[in-house]
Subunit: 536 residues, 2 copies
């Protein structure tokens, strides 16, 4: 990360602080790396020192009330303008993202992730304008009225390495949600794709200015030390933190954030177990094995919803299915991992699984290449092994890596389910015409239901649709709070909202959403127990 | 607390564990005290040792899935039956509560708090049956459906000293909410009113049995050590903690609870600032002063919404108002405090205020009496004093104690608002016909809005109506999360709920709330962006 001193370097990129691109206060620099070549990319970025962080905090504090008072139409205009500008710059952004992440340019970045990001911003804009998200609740008899509103402090967003566009701190669901709810935002770019973040932040600043929002509404730093990060989230100007990343880093950040009385929303880890009931493997082991591999290897296995744990029963069909899986995983195909760090984590995970006694069925080794590549890898363990040390086999690792747990019978399969940690998702594949599968489902489902956010049937977990009915979250350690989702609009807004109650406040002093007249005729409000779009 | 060993004592009350009254595992005992006489009450209660706590945990774990699968009608039946049984035993319960708390029997316990508790249980029952609380959200196009459901672990409730009925761990809003959402519950009684809790828990067990719920759905211990409490909330059988009490104890419990990945809902402290704008004090200083005193002294100043901080401007009307307040607070009237602990805290708070330089205008001393009494007490400080050390003057203390902050002008009043911590409530009294007050309001309101859960106009904060539009919560340190309320049904349920998403799950495998048919024709569901009671 430290490639020389700041002084020796003329071209260090400025940071976005206080509504302008300013030279960073920094004594360290870093460069991104092309994962396909292992070569450093030319642009030079600063590791911000505390003065940069402090400036963002003071600026957030300065504009907090103004951001909170910004009319929804203006926020919506910003989000739409931002989407427009990003679309204008799509070519440059996706090209840079491809360079920095080695994710496929056409199939992934251009045709999937970029449109998803744009769609998310526009959905957020529409939801802000519609206003139903704030769940206006009115008791006309007692004249008590409540709605969700801003937190009254900055939201700090730490973005992950695996979605340089749709979950980027400056353009993803967290950003859209935090701004939608009326909060100032401090973004920490992921140091694996600073160039992508820079290009998008340029559009962002232009959109802020053109929409007339305070220019400091969103600020961005490329990088800072762990200790400065802890100091940042503990500052009184901060109200909440959104973190997507590794469990170890996330837990430490959670402790510091919550210890100082702030809200922590973390997406920490998930192995997304997939249960294959005996009937479905008798019916169609082949297509299902392909489906699993396709989901597991999507984005080179670097999805938070990657199916990393497979549970099946050791019968004839189960054994045949495992054999098929082994064949598929032994394909020589393997994309690039996002970074050296991801590669090292994956190597560690494989070593740990070996040490824990897992049987290697496919892959297991780094691929000699100047870029970051690893074989598609499959392990198998017995149900007994899993139950002896369930924690050892539930460690999330990016990469096309899965662990198959072979239960000796259905009862053991249920015990395995009982010993799962909290996860984002669980899938059950079953035959709907097989009464035995149906019976197992009725026992298995209630156990899994309480351990995951999203329960899927006959479907792999990697697709996370941006729908109001989506829930992307789950019990600890998948996330810090199982009641909140990070994907799905407008529900994702609620992470960054406080409930604001008005007791005996006269009409002219109420916010528009709580007055007699429905502010736009479209907003849903809960009036005396009835959801309605009418005026009072 | 330790009045001898368990062995020497034959009549130690059993604890409610595993659906039965069982002898406690305990080496310590305690007795409640009549605050009006300072005398110990005869009944002897155990301080449970770890084996008791462990039993409740294992029982909660055992019944967790069964409680989660209990039909809403059955849970509603339990809540209603419980209310019925409590009503039958009202005389005994309120008499015991009066003995243990010295709260007025007729005006408070019988005619206010008891009916509130019953009303809350019945409202919860109605909301459980109606089912709208789970916010069923359906995307018919993508076949993704979500609703709130149980957490998958026990809720531990620590109840406060100040509402022996309506916020009692075994019968208050927390209990009703946690059970309504389908969770097993472990209650810790407040050691100041074990007899009241015992009488209610007897009705509770009968109601559980008659309604056919697992008898271990709710368990109750009278008391345990701090360390055992930490061990309890860290246990894997626990999903969430609800705590109402002091900030010091609450913060420690928050740290341990969140550190082990569980949810913490704490009501920690609030001074509930009341701002009097110049115009209203010109218009009606007299009635307003009486109103303030009446709210501040309600329940002998032992409400979490007690107005403890008063802010006014040092003009002619302000000074006259303060003088009137001084007269009123100098009345010899004073009720009984709840316990020796409350009395000591109050004495400490008064000493600290004196040390911090506050000017004593009324009271300030313990009243010589065998019971726990303290004079109604009023302090004054300048705005400048407040701004020099805002923390020193925002320490919550039970008792009829208020601090008046006299700002030199409106600008200083605004600065005082900016330096407030998070609070449950803030009130603004203003003249609606005075343009100057209106102008001040427009500046003051946005600042206060982001610092409190409930903003009142021309009204004291002590009345907390049980309405769906109520919000009893606020930014840290008032509570741990400003998005959740502990009063108001059904919103209070959401603290103890996880979001459950169903992706590609067929009709017959969906919970009733997410199927095509509206399960009761009354439930509100958000279907493709429209709130409706219709079938799909």
């Amino acid at each position: 990360m430290n490639d020389g001193s700041y002084e020796n370097c003329q071209a260090v990129r400025p940071v976005l602080v206080g509504g302008a691109w300013q030279p960073a206060s920094s004594s360290e620099i870093f460069q991104a790396c092309n994962p396909a070549t292992g070569q450093k990319l030319p642009e030079i970025y600063p590791v911000s020192a505390w003065p940069d962080l402090e400036k963002t905090l003071l600026e957030s504090q300065r504009v907090c009330l103004e951001v909170a008072a910004t009319p929804p139409e203006k926020i919506a205009r910003f989000l739409n303008l931002y989407a427009d500008l990003l679309e204008k710059n799509q070519e440059a952004i996706t090209t840079m993202a491809h360079l920095e992440t080695a994710l496929p340019l056409k199939s992934r970045l251009r045709s999937t992730e970029f449109p998803r990001m744009i769609n998310q911003l526009r959905q957020a804009a529409a939801a802000v304008e519609e206003r139903s998200w704030c769940q206006a609740t009115i008791d006309t008899r007692l004249n008590i009225r409540s709605k969700y509103g801003p937190l009254g402090g900055a939201v700090v967003i730490f973005s992950p390495n695996n979605f340089p566009l749709a979950f980027n701190a400056v353009a993803g669901s967290d950003l859209a949600s935090a701004v939608a709810a009326g909060n100032p935002v401090i973004c920490k770019a992921h140091p694996a794709h600073p160039g992508t973040t820079r290009l998008m932040a340029e559009s962002l600043l232009e959109a802020l200015n053109r929409a007339g929002l305070p220019a400091s509404t969103v600020q961005m730093l490329y990088h800072f030390s762990l200790d400065d990060g802890f100091r940042l989230v503990s500052h009184q100007a901060v109200a909440a933190v959104a973190f997507t990343g590794s469990r170890a880093a996330g837990l430490k950040l959670k402790e510091v954030t919550e210890g100082s009385g702030k809200l922590f929303y973390g997406e920490l880890s998930s192995v997304n177990p997939v249960f294959f009931l005996p009937g479905i493997l008798k019916e169609k082991a082949g297509p299902v094995a392909l489906e699993l591999f396709s989901s597991c290897s999507l984005g080179c296995g670097q999805f938070c919803t990657k199916p990393g744990l497979i549970v099946l029963v050791n019968d004839e069909a189960g054994r045949r299915f495992l054999w098929r899986l082994q064949q598929i995983f032994n394909q020589p195909l393997a994309g690039y991992l996002l970074s050296q760090v991801v590669l090292e984590n994956l190597k560690n995970a494989v070593e740990k699984l070996k040490t824990a006694g897992a049987l290697l069925l496919a892959g297991g080794n780094q691929i000699p290449d100047c870029g970051f590549r690893f074989q598609t890898t499959l392990f198998a363990i017995s149900g007994e092994q899993f139950l002896k040390d369930p924690g050892a086999f539930q460690q999330e690792a990016f990469g096309t890596l899965a662990v198959a747990v072979v239960a000796q019978d259905v009862e053991e399969m249920l015990k395995i389910a009982e010993n799962l940690e909290g996860n984002l998702t669980a899938s059950i594949y079953s035959s709907h015409s097989d009464p035995q599968d149906e019976e197992i489902y009725r026992k298995l489902e209630p156990v899994l239901r309480l351990k995951v956010g999203r329960l899927l049937n006959d479907k792999m977990p990697t697709g996370v649709a941006v729908s109001p009915a989506m829930h992307h979250g789950g019990p600890f350690p998948a996330t810090g709070h199982p009641g909140f989702t990070s994907v799905g609009i407008p529900a994702a807004f609620l992470r960054f909202a406080a409930r604001h109650c008005y007791d005996n406040v006269s009409e002219d002093r109420l916010p528009e959403e709580l007055r007699a007249r429905n502010p736009n005729g479209r907003m849903w409000r809960l009036v005396d127990g009835h959801w309605t779009r009418s005026d009072l």
